[in-house]
């Protein structure tokens, strides 16, 4: 719920109509995980056409983009988990909605909500992998600023992000391939 509200607040801040329908996408999660995944996928692709970020070095745009991305991931997780809101969620929801009015509150509230949400997973390996990956990205973009900061390097920045994503995934999958973990099958049916 918080993720959907974060997207809604971001949509109000930047005046984007696609973001404002995020709560509707979230409601679809009540009808089943699989149909929700399809709706979420369509929502993300639609966002890519309606919102634009040309360079990572535009901090104002980066802040709002980060808020949007974190809200989307949070909304995805909340929809898949289908966990009802608790007392903490209501407080955080209020803070997030405040971000629609006070822009500087939005990103901190979203980050806090994300951390509190994923804290439940207890994935130290995942946290380590995420930290290392983000560090590589951050260091890379800082070091290569002179080259990547030039106009027309958006695709290069995309490629760097893609490569880092792949490098992040491979070690974790390799470590855990013998643990007997399977992937659940996608099938369109009502939840429960």
């Amino acid at each position: 719920m918080i993720g959907a509200l974060g997207l809604l607040a971001a949509g109000v801040v930047i005046g984007n109509h696609t973001l404002i329908i995020a709560p509707l996408v979230y409601i679809i999660s009540r009808f089943g995980r699989d149909i929700y995944l399809i709706a979420f996928s369509a929502f993300c692709i639609a966002l890519g056409y309606t919102l634009e970020l040309r360079t990572i070095y535009d901090l104002n745009s980066l802040v709002i983009s980060t808020a949007i991305v974190l809200s989307a991931i949070l909304m995805l997780d909340e929809g898949l988990t289908n966990r009802g809101p608790g007392r903490d969620e209501f407080i955080l929801s209020a803070a997030v909605l405040t971000g629609a009015v006070i822009k500087s509150v939005l990103l901190p509230a979203i980050v806090l909500a994300t951390v509190l949400n994923f804290r439940r997973v207890h994935s130290w390996r995942g946290a380590a992998a995420a930290t290392i990956s983000l560090s590589i990205v951050a260091v890379g973009f800082v070091v290569l600023r002179n080259y990547l900061g030039l106009p027309g390097t958006t695709s290069t920045q995309v490629a760097i992000l893609g490569a880092t994503a792949v490098l992040t995934v491979i070690p974790v999958w390799l470590m855990s391939r013998n643990e007997g973990i399977g992937w659940t099958v996608f099938e369109l049916r009502k939840r429960g």
């Binding site: 056409y49 997973v121 207890h122 390996r125 992998a129 893609g162 994503a165 007997g180 973990i181 996608f186």
Partner: protein, 437 residues
């Protein structure tokens, strides 16, 4: 397709979208998705401890409770689905529940067994993360040897199958359907005659419908030989003799167009004899004769281990069985059946109504000898179907089942000699209907 594959595909598409459109936002979204999947996957390390308890003795078709104790020893909440691996014929519920980190719980669910003896292994636990992206299966380490006994209801159903329907079919075939191929004479067609017996050559020659009249094999007499011995008279609420008497009267009435006689015998000799006739009062005469008092006994046929023991020993009983008839001036035990079977003339149709468990050997020998001279049908009331349900316990159901299996073997053996039909109390209506047809 798997859910994770869909998310990875979405990431790929977003990267492609970002690259082609020169837009960093989809790429950041894709990167975040990959980190998300990796984080969740790395954090999914379930550990579940479980034990299952199942009754070793069940009754077929009755809901039994399987008790599963499960503990989440992992680091995160999980969603568990219990999937039983049961033999064919079994059915079970598939409970699904969430188990918090460190929580243990007892789950009860129904299992409906099928008859037989089985070795049932523990169920499979499908443990998923809370997002439904990953799973791991755990097999509960449990092997239970289970014996499933049939329910009395099922025994009744099986006893009433096929062989009971054969009663009327056999009757019909034996009495009404068989016609000797030899034509006795030709006559004019009358209302009610079957068209298949029309002699078309004669019809064409004479210009009117002519039917063939065959020499009927059932011109012979029918004898109902009713066993009124001790085994037939056992019972409190309803003994087999009550049913057998009613059945004999019903058959006599249904066969009213034929010459039907009745011979009632006990273990030692013939008690009553009514010569075959078509007279209207023969049913009343039979009814007057068929007033046989029941022998009071709790159980039918064979003794059970916990029966009261103020009886003679086995040796004593054998001695009395052999001596008593001689003292009474009879030839020996169970001579009543032989004496009764000697009454009908050759070529008669004999319907034996008797309990097959009390003197099986003699009955089998007699039937094998009789079938060369007569047409024979054996009708035997199934004691299991006469059993008082209110007195049923688990041990008695087991005992009944064993008797049922033994009886099935006997029926098969006797069926190889003459047509044998196993009947119960509720077969009467069916018999009436079939005979009336």
């Amino acid at each position: 397709m798997r859910r994770v594959e869909l998310l990875l595909l979405l990431s790929f598409l977003l990267f492609v979208q970002g690259y082609l459109l020169g837009n960093l936002l989809p790429a950041i979204m894709a990167y975040a998705l990959v980190i998300y999947i990796t984080y969740i996957r790395a954090g999914f390390r379930p550990s579940v401890l479980a034990s299952r308890h199942l009754s070793e003795s069940m009754q077929e078709g009755r809901r039994e409770t399987s008790r599963l104790v499960v503990k989440n020893a992992g680091e995160a909440d999980v969603r568990i689905t219990v999937k039983e691996k049961l033999p064919p014929g079994f059915s079970a519920e598939t409970p699904e529940f969430i188990l918090r980190r460190g929580e243990d719980r007892e789950v009860r669910y129904a299992v409906i067994p099928a008859r037989g003896s089985y070795e049932i292994r523990g169920p499979m636990l499908d443990v998923q993360d809370m997002r439904g992206l990953f799973f791991r299966n755990f097999e509960v380490d449990s092997v239970v040897r289970v014996d499933v006994y049939p329910s009395l209801e099922r025994i009744r159903e099986e006893a009433m199958a096929e062989e009971n329907i054969r009663l009327a079919e056999v009757l019909k075939e034996s009495l009404f359907g068989i016609q000797a191929p030899e034509i006795l004479f030709l006559r004019r067609f009358q209302e009610g005659d079957e068209t298949r017996y029309i002699d078309w050559k004669a019809t064409a020659r004479l210009g009117e419908l002519i039917v063939k009249e065959f020499m009927r094999e059932d011109e012979g007499e029918i004898y109902i030989i009713l066993d009124a011995g001790k085994e037939m008279r056992k019972g409190i609420k309803s003994s087999k003799i009550d049913y057998a008497s009613t059945l004999a009267l019903v058959l006599a009435h249904a066969l009213k167009k034929h010459r039907v006689g009745l011979v009632v015998h006990d273990d030692y000799g013939v008690l009553h004899k009514i010569d075959p006739s078509r007279s209207p009062d023969r049913i009343e005469r039979m009814a007057r004769v068929l007033t046989v008092p029941p022998a009071v006994a709790e159980l039918l046929s064979v003794k059970v281990p916990d029966a009261e023991s103020h009886r003679l020993s086995d040796a004593g009983r054998r001695f009395m069985r052999n001596i008593l008839p001689l003292v009474r001036g009879r030839r020996g035990a169970h001579s009543g059946l032989s004496e009764a079977a000697a009454i009908p003339p050759t070529g008669s149709f004999l319907i034996f109504i008797t309990d097959i468990t009390s003197h099986t050997g003699e009955l089998a020998r007699l039937l094998a000898e009789l079938r060369s001279r007569h047409r024979v049908l054996l009708v035997t009331p199934n004691p299991i179907l006469f059993y008082d349900e209110s007195k049923l316990t688990r041990d008695k159901i087991l005992w009944l089942y064993r008797r049922y299996v033994e009886r099935e073997r006997l029926i098969k053996r006797l069926n190889s000699i003459v047509p044998t039909v196993d009947v119960g109390p509720s077969d009467l209506a069916e018999v009436l209907r079939k005979v009336a047809e």
